[in-house]
C-alpha cells in the first residue's frame, strides 16, 4: 500500500478573497460581484504515489506550488478538488520551532512541541535526554527561548521533530539554517532515518542537496506536474529548463 497517495489534486486560492477582512469591504465587493474574481490555481490535477521508504524531492521554482503540495500532504490545507491520502504519522519540518512559545524555556517547549506532534509527557520524557544532546543545548535548557539565537531555535526544532518516531518526514527548505557542523549532523540524521525505513519528502531549490538525499524527484512547474522519476534525470531536466530561461 502506498504511504502517500495524491489523486487529481487541484488547489485554488481566491486572491481577492484573502484581502476581504472587514464586513464593509465584504459587502461592497459582494454588491460589485468582485468577490470571486482573481482565482488562482496553485496546483492543477497533480497525481502521484509514494511508497514506504522512498526518498522523494519536490523541486520547482519559487511559487511553483511545491510548498502548497507539502502542506496538503501534512494535512494543514485541504485540496479544492481531488484527494490526498496519508497512511502514517508525519513529522512536519515545515518551519522549525513553529510551535514554540517564546516565553517558555527549552525544557518546557520540548513537551509543548511534542504535544503538538501528538506525543504525551511520558513519551517525551523518555526522549528528552537525546533531544537536548542532539541540539547541544544543555547549557541553556532552562533559559526562555526568546533569548535564543535563530540557529539555536532551529536546532531544537529539528532535534524534536526527528527524535520522535514518524513514518514520514516532511521538510521544507530547513537545512539552510544552522552552521556547517549542524547541517552535517542533520544530513546524517536524515540518512540514518532513511535507512531505518522512514519516508522522506523534501522540498528544496538546492539541486545538489536533492541529488545527495533523494532517489526520486517530482518537478512541479506553475502548478503542473512536469516530471517524475529518478532524481538525477529530473534534476538535470530541471536545470536544463532553467538554463534555457524558462
Amino acid at each position: 500500500m502506498s504511504i502517500i497517495q495524491v489523486e487529481d489534486v487541484s488547489m485554488r486560492f481566491n486572491l481577492a478573497q484573502e484581502k476581504t477582512e472587514t464586513l464593509k469591504e465584504y459587502t461592497v465587493k459582494l454588491l460589485k460581484h468582485q468577490l470571486f474574481f482573481n482565482e488562482f490555481y496553485a496546483l492543477r490535477d497533480i497525481s502521484f504515489k509514494i511508497e514506504p521508504g522512498e526518498s522523494v524531492a519536490l523541486i520547482g521554482r519559487n511559487g511553483s506550488g511545491k510548498s502548497t503540495m507539502l502542506k496538503l500532504i501534512a494535512g494543514v490545507m485541504y485540496p479544492t478538488t481531488g484527494s490526498v491520502t496519508v497512511n502514517g504519522e508525519i513529522a512536519p519540518l515545515i518551519e522549525l520551532g513553529a510551535g514554540f512559545d517564546l516565553d517558555l524555556t527549552a525544557r518546557e517547549n520540548v513537551f509543548l512541541n511534542g504535544a503538538v506532534l501528538g506525543h504525551d509527557r511520558a513519551y517525551m520524557q523518555e526522549h528528552f535526554q537525546n533531544i537536548i544532546d542532539f541540539a547541544e543545548l544543555w547549557d541553556f535548557v532552562d533559559v526562555p527561548v526568546k533569548n535564543y539565537s535563530s540557529g539555536m531555535i532551529a536546532r531544537l526544532g529539528f532535534s524534536i521533530a526527528t527524535e520522535v518516531r514518524a513514518d514520514i518526514l516532511a521538510c521544507d527548505e530547513i537545512l539552510s539554517v544552522g552552521d556547517f557542523m549542524f547541517q552535517q549532523k542533520c544530513h546524517q540524521r536524515m540518512e540514518q532515518m532513511l535507512s531505518g525505513g522512514t519516508t522522506l519528502l523534501f522540498v528544496s531549490h538546492d539541486i545538489n542537496q536533492v541529488k545527495q538525499l533523494c532517489k526520486r524527484a517530482i518537478w512541479i512547474d506553475h502548478g503542473h506536474l512536469r516530471g517524475d522519476g529518478p532524481a538525477e534525470e529530473v534534476c538535470n531536466a530541471y536545470v536544463a529548463a532553467m538554463e534555457r530561461g524558462e
Binding site: 486560492f13 481566491n14 478573497q17 484573502e18 477582512e21 472587514t22 464586513l23 465584504y26 502542506k71 496538503l72 500532504i73 501534512a74 494535512g75 494543514v76 490545507m77 485541504y78 485540496p79 481531488g82 484527494s83 490526498v84 491520502t85 496519508v86 497512511n87 502514517g88 504519522e89 508525519i90 512536519p92 515545515i94 518551519e95 513553529a98 510551535g99 512559545d101 516565553d103 517558555l104 518546557e108 513537551f111 509543548l112 511534542g114 504535544a115 503538538v116 506532534l117 501528538g118 506525543h119 504525551d120 509527557r121
Partner: protein, 265 residues
C-alpha cells in the same frame, strides 16, 4: 491513519491523541500568565477580592439595593461572569493567535479555544478560595448544598466551551467581531443581575432577563452557596439546556467553518 479529504477525521481518536496538547497548552497559559509578577497565583484570589471590595463600596453608598450579605452576593456573580467574559474573549482570539502554528502543522483546531477556556476555568477554581474567604469574614453560614457547587460550574464550563469555539471560528472570517464583542459583553453584564436583585427590575423585564443563560448559572450558584436551597427544576433545565445547545451549535459551526480557516489566517 490520517485522511485529508473524503472521510472526516475520527474526532474521538483525534481528541484522545491530542489530549496531552490540551494539558500542555493549559500549563503554558497558567505559567505565562503570572510569570514575573511578584504575587503570582495569589492574584487569582486577590483580584476578585479587590474587585468585590470596590464594588461593595460603590454600591453600598452610592446605589443601594436591599440584599443581605451584599459582598457574598456580588462575588458569587462576579466570579462566574468574569470566567465567562475572560474565557470567551481569550477563546475567540485563540485560532487567530495560533495562526503561525495552524499554517504549518496539522493540529485539531478546536483544541485552541477549548484549552483557553480550561485555563480560565483553573483560574476560576483559584477564585473559589476568595469566595470561601468572604464567607468566613462575613460569618455566612455554610450549608450542605455548597457541596453541589461543582454542578453549575461544570455546566458553565460546557457553555463557555461552546461559545468560545463558535466565536473563535467566526472571528477568523470577521475580525471585527473581536471589537464588537467587548460591547456585547458589556451589555450582557448589565443584563445579568450581578449587583442588583432581579426583584428590583420592573415586572416586564423579568422574563427578558430570564432568557439570559448566565442569570440561571449565577442564580444556581447563589442558591447553593448563599441560601442553602436547591434551585428549582426550571433553573436546572435552563443550565443544562443552554450548555448542551451552546456546545452543539459551537462544535457544529466550527466543524463546518474550519476547513477554510487556512485561507483566511
Amino acid at each position: 491513519m490520517q485522511k485529508s479529504t473524503g472521510q472526516l477525521h475520527n474526532s474521538w481518536h483525534n481528541f484522545s491523541k491530542y489530549r496531552p496538547l490540551i494539558r500542555e497548552l493549559v500549563t503554558r497559559d497558567l505559567k505565562v500568565k503570572y510569570r514575573r509578577s511578584v504575587l503570582g497565583y495569589m492574584w487569582s484570589i486577590l483580584n476578585p477580592l479587590l474587585m468585590m471590595l470596590l464594588q461593595t463600596l460603590v454600591f453600598s453608598y452610592m446605589f443601594r439595593f436591599d440584599i443581605p450579605n451584599f459582598p457574598l452576593y456580588l462575588i458569587c456573580g462576579n466570579t462566574l461572569f468574569n470566567f465567562f467574559n475572560e474565557s470567551t474573549n481569550m477563546g475567540m482570539g485563540s485560532v487567530l493567535g495560533n495562526a503561525s502554528l495552524i499554517k504549518k502543522v496539522y493540529v485539531p483546531k478546536f483544541i485552541f479555544p477549548i484549552s483557553r477556556v480550561v485555563s480560565s476555568f483553573v483560574n476560576l477554581l483559584f477564585s473559589l478560595a476568595a469566595i470561601l474567604l468572604v464567607m468566613l469574614i462575613t460569618r455566612s453560614p455554610f450549608y450542605w448544598t455548597i457541596l453541589l457547587v461543582w454542578a453549575p460550574l461544570l455546566l458553565l464550563l460546557a457553555f463557555c466551551c461552546g461559545m468560545a469555539v463558535l466565536l473563535s471560528a467566526l472571528a477568523v472570517y470577521f475580525r471585527d467581531l473581536q471589537y464588537l464583542y467587548g460591547i456585547l459583553t458589556m451589555a450582557w453584564m448589565y443584563a445579568t443581575p450581578l449587583f442588583y436583585p432581579i426583584s428590583a427590575l420592573p415586572p416586564f423585564m423579568v422574563p427578558v432577563i430570564k432568557l439570559n443563560p448566565l442569570y440561571h448559572y449565577i442564580n444556581c450558584m447563589r442558591c447553593l452557596v448563599m441560601y442553602g436551597t436547591l434551585p428549582g427544576p426550571n433553573t436546572w433545565i435552563a443550565c443544562v439546556g443552554s450548555a448542551v445547545v451552546m456546545m452543539g451549535v459551537g462544535l457544529a459551526a466550527f466543524r463546518k467553518l474550519q476547513r477554510n480557516f487556512i485561507l483566511y489566517l
